[in-house]
Amino acid sequence: MPQRVNGVMGAAAALDYDAELMLRVKDGDGASFALLLEKYRASVTHFLYRMVQEQAVSEELAQEVFLRVYRSRETYEPTAKFTTWLFRIATHLALNWLRDQKNERGQERLDESVEDAPTREVADRSPSVEQSMVHRVKVEEVRRAVAALPEKQRAAVLMHKYEEMEYSQIAKVLSCSESAVKSLLFRAYETLRVRLAHMA
């Protein structure tokens, strides 16, 4: 590994192995990019799916995320955790897409039927038809409740719940203070509690 990489790593994100991989990508190592892709393909795509709630769009946006990562390799500097940077790109793309959609079609897309937003459900061991239907309905309610959250709150909840990010990291992704993130999450969960209270 080049000396420069070690130097930069020591200064900034010494413990972030992903940042180290990214610096190797910067030095032309395609295998390191493949490793990062393998590691984060699912989480980025799933995060985007939960944000935009359309599979094709989420994959398209996820491809754009990794394309941007690859294109930015030459100017990459490990000033933050790699995942912070990665999810910052993903969130930015998702918010832009949602904004464009809102401008084009208004909010009605989020209220479309289940068929337009395919969901994979957690399979029970041997669910009856009735159990499956109940499960589907519950999942759909969760999907709608999340979709109804303001976009920034939605992004914060998804990063907090599914990506298990720390408040400081979410703050960096959303370009706001840590206390703002805590407040954002508190309000978001409050809304979700009201909407999903009957599911307890």
Partner: protein, 164 residues
Amino acid sequence: MNCPIKTHENTDWLLDYSAGKLNADRTTLVERHMETCPDCARFVEGQRAVWSALGRWEPPAVSADFNRRLYQRIDRARPASWLERLFRPLQPLWRPVVPLAAACLLMIAGVALHAPEPALHRNSSQARIESIEPEQVERTLDDMQMLRELALTPQQEQTTPKPM
């Protein structure tokens, strides 16, 4: 500990406690507070239900050809080589010429393959042979006649008796 719900302080403690991610010291404080605060206890109960409900929602699996499509896009986005960059300004000029040249080449090849040239050659040589043939035959006959005469003349000389 101040009530997180009333003061909006340490609301993250309640969130983390509900998710089972709060450290031991703070967990003790939150639990002690909840014993006397039904609002916070209700909050935690509701938050756990939300947490569990969110856990039910799983996204669809990523398409199998995700990487292939991504690498295709990366290839397309690859910066052009110096040679490509050099000829790029000329592309609008020579781009329409290429199919035209290809069409011309095809036409030439077609003409070359299907032209009745060999037949023409064959016919002309045959015609030449045909036109030459009677003369040759005539000359050959003449030559044969001459040879015959030449051959006869010494014999006659030999058989003719010398005058005494």
